[in-house]
């Protein structure tokens, strides 16, 4: 029994959240059972992901291959769990589990009645399952289907709030994300027409022999996939939906959207670019230079836009645009240190941004004030919330001893190794700008006199989840060992293909 569960772990990680999401709607009247089931599903997923990561680390190079339906590779769908998949599974469930604990009892005023809260949880679990599937699958059309499930769940999560601005933000997000999906499907169509395979390994081998005959079709496929995934993961000129969507969503949804949903599309982009096309084709069509350039522009543009925002959640949303720029910069550098730095930065940013959004949401729920200038003196009234906010901000800026520093250090080493001095300068400048838009919040919270109002810390489960997330941030900074090793092996696997 245990042996059969261990052999089928890649599928269980995907289908356990999905099964519990399917039956959740029949239990609407018993809220405690619903919340308990959600937390149980995320905990089970975390245990499975941890065991998969441990197995992959021990196996040292061979990947777990699992065939759905027993059909071998070109005829059936194949799931391949390597270091990249194990890393991303850990990130997904490592963020979803604390956020599910935070959402317990916190949703009533933002979402509404019990029935709406149950539907919110259904969409939440569907998003977790779809992202887990995107991490492990090795088939191109399977990625498209899971991308669509994730997009619809994200839009549903954004529109869950009762305020009319949420509906507007969700509509813009839906239209632009579906545009991106249509482009991705067009790219997959071009790859299928030229190579005749839908499996990523086989398509990559075939593409190496065939691309000289029709270079324009392959060029179109590369550009469609670049723009399609760029719209979904907020690459700089295509990020216009992100500030509205991430600031108008309910708090646990903002944390999960900014933390792992954007990263899921980044991982799919990585799988397509390095797994199907390969580094030689990327250099042939100058994709790496485009990615470096757009990443640099995103860092500067996102940080400068974040400086001008007065609402706390919008400032954090623009900060996500800037940090995604760092990750695209790492993808474009195409050497092992750069890719490993980008993947480690992805991990640390997921945890940091969730902490920041959850703390901001707790402040918003307790005080009812959205703008930063009105949050005077909140550090003394809500000590635990502001302490976790400060720890996460210091880590995002890149102070040594926290996790952001390790990621930025590897990105710096990668850009110096590639011979380019401009990215190194802009990475450091980006950290300065990040300090410029995060320190005012901390200063106003701690060093200004507080008005005489009763602002208390949020409840027990919210405090537990905030402390858990900030502990993970500190641990990633002090002992980055296993995660950094997973990231380095993932980079080596991607570059060798």
């Amino acid at each position: 029994m245990i042996a059969s569960i261990k052999a089928n772990l890649p599928v269980f990680v995907v289908i356990v959240p999905l099964f519990i999401a399917f039956i959740l709607l029949t239990f609407t009247r018993r809220m405690r059972l619903v919340e308990g089931l959600v937390i149980f599903a995320e905990a089970l997923g975390l245990v499975c992901a941890g065991y998969l990561a441990y197995t992959v680390l021990k196996q040292n190079g061979t990947q777990i291959i699992y065939q759905l339906g027993g059909w071998p590779a070109p005829w059936g769908i194949e799931l391949k769990v390597g270091s990249l998949a194990a890393l991303f599974l850990l990130i997904i469930f490592g963020v979803c589990f604390p956020v599910a604990i935070f959402a317990k009892g916190n949703l009533t005023e933002e979402v509404g009645s019990n029935e709406r809260i149950t539907r919110f949880y259904v969409l939440y679990l569907l998003l977790g399952g779809a992202l887990a599937g995107m991490a492990v699958t090795n088939d191109m059309f399977n990625i498209y289907v899971l991308v669509e499930v994730a997009t619809l769940s994200c839009c549903g999560l954004v529109s869950a709030r009762k305020h009319p601005r949420a509906a507007e933000a969700a509509f813009t997000y839906l239209i632009l994300a579906t545009l991106g999906s249509a482009l991705v499907m067009g790219g997959i169509g071009f790859i299928y027409i030229t190579t005749g395979h839908l499996n990523m390994g086989f398509a990559s081998q075939e593409l190496k022999q065939v691309w000289q005959d029709n270079p324009h079709v392959v060029w179109m496929a590369v550009s469609f996939i670049l723009v399609g995934f760029g719209v979904k993961s907020a690459l700089f000129p295509l990020h216009v939906w992100l500030p509205d969507a991430h600031s108008q969503a309910p708090t646990p949804a903002s944390a999960v959207l900014s933390g792992i949903a954007v990263k899921g599309y980044l991982i799919c982009f990585l799988k397509f670019m390095y797994g199907v096309f390969g580094p030689e084709l990327m250099q042939e069509f100058a994709v790496n230079r485009i990615l470096v350039f757009l990443g640099l522009v995103a860092i500067i543009g996102g940080s400068l836009s974040a400086l001008t925002q007065d609402e706390l959640k919008r400032r954090l949303a623009f900060s996500t645009v800037a940090q995604v720029g760092y990750i695209y910069l790492g993808f474009g550098l195409m050497n092992e240190k750069g890719l490993a730095g980008a993947l480690f930065y992805l991990t640390s940013h997921a945890v940091i941004k969730s902490t920041l959004f959850l703390a901001a949401g707790a402040i918003l729920a307790a005080t009812g004030k959205k703008k930063i200038s009105e949050l005077k003196g909140i550090g003394r009234k809500m000590p635990i919330t502001m302490a976790t906010f400060t720890i996460a901000s210091l880590s995002l800026i890149g102070v040594p001893l926290f996790s952001g520093f390790v990621g930025k250090w590897h990105l710096l080493l990668g850009s110096l190794e590639a011979g380019n001095i401009i990215p190194a300068v802009i990475i450091i400048f980006g950290s300065v700008l990040c300090a410029a838009y995060l320190f005012p919040v901390i200063r106003i919270a701690y060093f200004e006199p507080a008005p005489e109002e009763e602002w208390k810390d949020p409840g027990l489960s919210q405090k537990c989840s905030l402390i858990l997330l900030s502990t993970v941030v500190v641990i990633l900074g002090v002992v980055p060992g296993p995660i950094l090793e997973l990231a380095r092996r993932a980079a080596a696997e991607l570059l060798m293909l």
């Binding site: 059969s4 599928v11 399917f22």
Partner: protein
């Protein structure tokens, strides 16, 4: 006058539309159609009924609880059919390797899991179409 003609014609035709939808679902592995198209046809028969006879009669035939029940458990049926392989030691969603008898291709009871999964998906798609219709039609 128009209402009278519609109601009489619908009362004769709609049961046949419903049975045609179930035929398309069950014969998915033999001819064209399958779970999704058959589910839509079944759902459309209920939507036509609600449009012609009024929303209240439509809701009385398919109350909220029945719709939620069929939606959730129709999808769970898919998952449970997939787990048959895991209990026998082969991967998820296996058909022949899990020892299911595949039968003669072209006959109705062949192809193992495919028609069983199609049944669950068809019922689910039908109830989703009816739910979407009821949501869009409500006035307040």
């Amino acid at each position: 006058m128009k209402d009278f003609i519609l109601k009489r014609v619908a009362s004769i035709i709609l049961p046949f539309v419903f049975i045609y939808g179930i035929y398309v679902i069950l014969h998915g592995h033999v001819s064209a159609g399958g779970s999704f198209a058959g589910g839509i046809i079944v759902g459309l028969s209920f939507i036509a009924f609600s449009t012609i006879y009024g929303i209240d009669k439509g809701r009385a035939k398919l109350p909220e609880k029945v719709l939620i029940f069929t939606e959730s458990y129709g999808t769970l049926w898919y998952g449970i059919m997939g787990m048959v392989g895991i209990f026998k030691g082969v991967p998820f969603l296996t058909n022949k390797l899990a020892g299911i008898d595949l039968g003669v291709p072209g006959a109705l009871s062949s192809a193992g899991l495919i028609s069983l999964i199609g049944l669950g998906v068809g019922i689910r798609v039908a109830s989703t179409m009816v739910t979407l219709f009821f949501i869009m039609v409500e006035d307040e």
